[in-house]
């Protein structure tokens, strides 16, 4: 059996950043396993700009952002296998994988970093009634067809869901000559960034229909149209508002799910809300020596944050392998999502990892709120508080806890992240 210090599952932005950091921290023996035929992950098909403002301090397209990390992987001579699928990860860190040159093979690793990313929610997950013609794609699949394979999925398009990929594809398909008739969003607000609504929809006069959904799909061979209806406060379609919209293509941009089949098989504890592993501040999962980062841990808005988080995972894995700075797993502070908060990452803070100085808590709010305070407290003791004019579930929030604030918290105590609505608005 092949032995490797660190196996990184996935060669997208998360896996590459983690591997590069681990190497910088002194781990020589690393192997990245990537399913596709090139490194870079989903960034390769995200040809639009807007990446890298935080991490590189300049605006890059997806492939350019990926290339910076691919270059570093090459410069640092970090080995990787392409077109290699990981079949299983054991909790003793034995990784089983398959590719066409080696067949099925196993690797015994000292540490494993999970960086498998996420997958799009499909029509099947939504249970949209109607016929089953061709012409229905997830937005990311359509993006790959247009930007990598060079062909168009259709000519007249309806998009369901106003996530960022859907908005980006509305513009992309319009520029390539398709007619994008509308973007329907079930919720009363869009989950996409304001910038994308303005520059992808408003710029091209594409209507955004909030509180609307697709209630039926029509067409025998090819999609011929969809029935769109408004929904009430309980998100139930109001059938009197139903309207037939002719189209040959329906794109779904209705959410992303971290891809954690391998993590579950390894016996790693999964958070039901994030659909990602329960992790501590060092991105270590419930199985010692297995770390998770990027969209496999929780879905991020910006790749810049994925890179930062993954570097943390890479550094922690290096520490674990070298046996330095490894905190006692029993000395733990639990982080809980309180009022108005959907989830937090990390879920746990190791008391002894405070040597790093600061701990960042990433979280999403449960709804759109105005004039609120975001608070981190331990009992009645407020450690940090931030005033916000507006918060939305589409924007990940970050609160940084300085070690001074944390030193007062004892192991076994609980930190609560919550949203406080002020009675008098600003």
């Amino acid at each position: 059996m092949k032995k490797v210090d660190l196996v990184v599952v996935g060669g997208g932005p998360a896996g590459m950043a983690a591997a590069v950091k681990a190497k910088e921290k002194g781990i020589q023996d690393i192997l990245i396993l990537e399913r596709e035929n090139s490194l870079g992950g989903i960034l390769n098909q995200c040809i639009h700009n807007g990446f890298g403002l935080h991490y590189f301090g300049e605006e890059l397209t997806g492939p350019e952002y990926a290339a910076r990390f691919i270059d570093r992987v090459h410069q640092m001579k970090i080995p990787y296998f392409l077109e290699t699928t990981v079949l299983n990860i054991d909790n003793d860190k034995t990784v089983t994988a398959v590719n066409s040159t080696e067949g099925v093979f196993t690797i015994k690793a000292k540490s494993v970093i999970l960086a498998m990313g996420c997958r799009e929610r499909t029509r099947g997950a939504l249970n949209i009634p109607g016929e089953r013609p061709s012409g229905i794609y997830t937005a990311g699949t359509a993006q790959k067809y247009v930007n990598i394979c060079g062909y168009m999925p259709g000519k007249s398009v309806v998009i369901l869901g106003s996530g960022d990929i859907g908005l980006i594809m509305a513009r992309r398909l319009t520029l390539e000559g398709a007619e994008v008739k509308m973007v329907c969003e079930l919720l009363p607000y869009s989950g996409g960034l304001t910038r994308n609504i303005v520059q992808c929809l408003d710029d091209y006069n594409i209507p955004l229909r909030l509180n609307h959904t697709v209630v039926s799909i029509h067409g025998k061979e090819r999609l011929e149209g969809v029935t769109v209806a408004e929904v009430d406060q309980n998100r139930k379609p109001i059938m009197e508002t139903a309207e037939f919209v002719p189209c040959d293509t329906l794109l779904l941009s209705v959410g992303l799910i971290p891809e954690n089949e391998l993590s579950r098989d390894a016996g790693i504890k999964i958070d039901q809300i994030t659909s990602g592993p329960v992790v501590d501040d060092r991105m270590e999962t419930s199985v010692e020596g297995i770390f998770a980062c990027g969209n496999v841990a929780h879905v991020h808005d910006l790749v810049d944050y994925v890179s930062n988080e993954s570097e943390r995972a890479g550094e922690s894995a290096a520490d674990y392998i070298l046996g330095t700075n490894v905190p006692d797993r029993k000395e733990t502070i639990v982080v809980t999502a309180g009022n108005g908060i959907r989830y937090t990452v990390p879920h746990l803070i190791r008391r002894q990892s405070l040597y790093r100085g600061t701990v960042k808590i990433f979280f999403r709010v449960a709804d759109v709120y105005r004039n609120v305070r975001l608070v981190v407290r331990c009992g009645n003791n407020i450690l940090v508080e931030r005033k916000k004019i507006k918060v939305t579930p589409g924007e990940m929030e970050i609160i940084e806890l300085k070690d001074k604030a944390l030193q007062a918290v004892k192991a076994g105590e609980e930190l609560v992240v919550e949203l406080v609505t002020d009675k008098e608005g600003l």
Partner: protein, 129 residues
Amino acid sequence: MPEKRKLVCINCPIGCLMEVTLDGDTINSVKGYKCKRGLEYARAECTNPVRIVTSTVKVRNGCLPVVPVKTEKPIPKRMILDCMKEINRCCVKAPVKIGDIIVENLLGTGINIVATGNIPVSDKEQTAC
């Protein structure tokens, strides 16, 4: 006749709804912004709105059929569709490297269209994914 235009600020998640009163190309007033960036955005959007355009260009004998490209700098918004026509007329030969100039001086703007991806030469028959 002064014209009123509504804009949503894109600088942060608050997304201020702003109303700009225009007299031809002159801005009379901007209302609804909460910070300086909003005011600057509203002014720029109403006088000279610009965008970076990203798309793909056909590649011959590459390992993939298209290469991603962008305008090196933002171009005037009104030129986006003409820019796409230029891009669609193009065809380049592999290998293509990030930063390679695909179209020089796009429509007299002085701005180049450059490659944003690496496409090596294909060692076999071209397969579309």
